[in-house]
C-alpha cells in the first residue's frame, strides 16, 4: 500500500473531488453569504455554457470521486446544469449540488434525478422565521423544506447545511429533528464566515462564544444519539479555515481537491483571494500536469493563507490582502509561470 503523500501527486491522474461554481448569480441576498452571491466580481465574467461543458468533459476524463456544483444558486442555470450532470453521471461520477431550494419543485427534482444527480445539499439556517430573516424574504423556509421533500420523493440523497447565527443556535435540536423527518443523510454545520455579506453583517449575525458552546454541546449529544441509534444521519461540524492552515503548513505534498470559481479561475481555497490559473485559458488537465496537485507548495499561497489563523481574522482590516470576491484576486498561473 502506498502511504507516502510525497509520492501521491506523481501517481494520481487528477483530483478526487472538485467544486465548481456554476454561477454566482442568485435569487436571494442572504445576510451571511461569504461570496456576495448575486453581486460579486465574478458575476459578469462567468464561464459560458461551452466553457463549462469543456471543463466538465475534462473532469469526466479524469474520473474523480465526486464533483459538487455550487453557487450562487445553481438552478438559475438549470439547463446547462442538467447537461453537465449527465456528462458526469455517464462516467459514474458522484454529483452533488447546493441549493437554497426556492426553485426546486417536484418537476425539477425529477429532472435532476433523471440527469443522474446523486446528492443535493439544501441550506436550512433555522426554523421558520429565523431562516427567512437571514434570507431577507418570507416563505423561504417552507420552500427549503419542500425542496427536501421533493428530493426525498425522487430518492436523491439529501444533506442540510446549517450556518449558526445569533438568532438560530438554540434551534439546533429542531434542525436535527427536521433532518430525521426528511431522511437527510448529513447535517453539516459550519461556523459563520465573516467575509462577503457575512462581513458586512457581522455584528448582527455572528453568534457569541457562549451561543456556540451551548449549540455544540447539544450538537454533540444529538450526534452521539444518532451514532448509537442507526448512524443514518451524520452530523458534521466543519471548520472553514482548517483546510488552508492544514494544507499550507502540514500536508502540502498533494492536494486532490480543486475549486473552480464561476469565472473559471482555479482557487486553492474559496475563502482566499488567490487563484492559480483559469480553465478558460488552459484545460484543467494541463493545470494538473503542471503540478496543480502540489498547489499548496506555492510560496505566495502559503504567505496568504498564513495571514489568517482563525475565522475571526478573516475580516480584520489590518491583514493586508484583497477582499475575497469583492476585490481582484492575487492571480498566479502555474502553467504560464511554470512554478511547480
Amino acid at each position: 500500500m502506498e502511504n507516502s503523500a510525497e509520492n501521491h501527486y506523481k501517481i494520481i491522474r487528477g483530483p478526487y473531488q472538485l467544486t465548481v461554481d456554476i454561477t454566482n448569480k442568485c435569487n436571494l441576498r442572504c445576510l451571511h453569504c461569504y461570496n456576495f452571491s448575486g453581486e460579486n466580481i465574478c458575476v459578469d465574467e462567468e464561464m459560458t455554457d461551452e466553457e463549462l461543458t469543456r471543463l466538465i468533459k475534462d473532469v469526466a476524463d479524469m474520473n474523480p470521486l465526486n464533483l459538487c456544483f455550487c453557487g450562487g444558486e445553481p438552478l438559475l442555470r438549470k439547463d446547462i446544469l442538467l447537461k453537465l450532470i449527465k456528462i458526469l453521471a455517464d462516467k459514474n461520477i458522484q454529483i452533488s449540488f447546493v441549493t437554497n431550494g426556492l426553485l426546486l419543485t417536484e418537476e425539477v427534482a425529477k429532472e435532476l434525478k433523471g440527469a443522474g444527480l446523486s446528492r443535493a445539499q439544501v441550506s436550512v439556517d433555522g426554523i421558520g422565521e429565523s431562516h427567512d430573516r437571514l434570507r431577507g424574504r418570507k416563505g423561504c423556509f417552507e420552500k427549503a423544506v419542500q425542496a427536501l421533500k421533493n428530493l426525498n420523493d425522487v430518492h436523491i440523497q439529501t444533506g442540510v447545511a446549517f450556518t449558526p447565527t445569533s438568532w438560530n443556535t438554540d434551534e439546533i435540536d429542531q434542525i436535527v429533528d427536521l433532518c430525521l423527518e426528511f431522511n437527510v443523510s448529513e447535517l453539516r454545520i459550519q461556523a459563520t464566515m465573516p467575509i462577503g455579506r457575512g462581513e458586512e453583517n457581522t455584528k448582527s449575525i455572528l453568534p457569541t462564544e457562549l451561543q456556540y458552546r451551548k449549540m455544540i454541546k447539544r450538537l454533540n449529544a444529538r450526534r452521539n444519539e444518532q451514532i448509537l441509534k442507526d448512524g443514518k444521519l451524520r452530523i458534521e461540524w466543519g471548520d472553514p479555515v482548517d483546510h488552508f492552515i492544514r494544507l499550507a503548513n502540514y500536508v502540502d505534498e498533494c492536494c486532490a481537491f480543486v475549486s473552480i470559481k464561476a469565472d473559471g479561475s482555479i482557487a486553492p481555497s474559496i475563502y482566499l483571494p488567490l487563484t492559480l490559473g483559469n480553465v478558460k485559458k488552459h484545460s484543467l488537465k494541463e493545470y494538473w500536469e503542471h503540478g496543480l496537485g502540489r498547489m499548496w507548495r506555492v510560496e505566495t499561497l502559503k504567505e496568504v493563507s498564513n495571514k489568517v489563523r482563525c475565522i475571526k481574522e478573516m475580516n480584520m482590516d489590518e491583514i493586508e490582502m484583497p477582499k475575497t470576491f469583492k476585490e481582484k484576486d492575487i492571480q498566479i498561473d502555474i502553467v504560464e509561470q511554470n512554478i511547480l
Binding site: M1, E2, H8, K10, I11, I12, R13, Y16, N63, P64, L65, Q94, N224, I227, L228, G231, A256
Partner: protein
Amino acid sequence: MSLDKKILDFKPRFKKSNVAYSREENDGYVSFRFQSPGTSNETILNDTCVEIIKICNGQNSIKDIVDHIMATYEGAPLDLVVKDVVETVQKLMRMQLITWEEENPFIPKYRIDLGEGYSIYRADYSDIPKINNFFKLVQIKEDKPYDNYQICLNKYIPKWSINSEVLRTGFLTDMQYIFMLEKDGEVVGTTYSVDNNNKCIHTIISLVCKKDILCLDSFVSYVFSLIPQISTQNLTGYRIHVGNEENELMNVLKSTGFEKTLTLENEIGFGKDLLEYNYYI
C-alpha cells in the same frame, strides 16, 4: 514458508461491495475509496495489493494467494511475498475490508476456564451481539451510579466510542482487544483496549464488570499478562486516564501494577481532574 499453518490456511474475503470508488492511476497504482468505517479518505494501492484483492474471495487461502503472487511476479523472493500478502491482509482487515468464515488466526480466542463456571476469551466479530447486549444492560452513563456494575472508563475516550465504534461497525481488528468474562455462558465482564500504531503504550478504553465477581483479579491479570504476548506492537506498558472514582476495579488495576503517574488538573473542565495510571511491563 515459515508461517503458522492456521495463517496459511486462512481464507480471507475482500468486501467488494465496500468499494465506493476506484480509479486506475499511473504506474499500475489504483486509488480506492472504501465505504468502510475503518477508512475515510482515498487509499492508493500498488499493483501487488490490487492483485491480492482480486483473489481474496473467501475461496483462496493465504497460501493460494502467495502462490498466485509468486506466479504473477516471477523471480520474487518467497519471504518477501509472504510478508507482503500477510501484511496486506492484516491492513485490509484493520480497514474492515476483510471478512472470514472460520476462526481468524490473527484474532485467536485464547479461551481459558477459571473454574466455578467462569471462562475468559478474546472476542471477535462474531461476539459483537453478545457485547452489544452486555453494554445495553450496563447502560453506560457518565457520572451516574451503576447499580449492578462497576466501570472503569478512559476519560480521554468519549464514552460513546466505547459503545459505538465496535458495536456500530460490528467489527474488531487484530489491534483491538475485547476480552469477555463469562459465568455459565452469560457475559459478566469485559475489558476493551487497543494497540496504537507504532506506539509501545497500550491504551485501555474500558473495564466493565458485574459487581461481586469472584475471579476479578484473575480476569484482569490474565488479560494484561496475555496482551503483551499477542500484541501487534512491542509493548512497554499500559495507560488509562480515569477520574477520581474509587471502586473495586480500580483497586484490582492497582494491585495488578498500575500506578498513578500524573494528575492533570481540571483537564476535563468543571474542576474535574484526570488521573493518569501507567503500568510498565
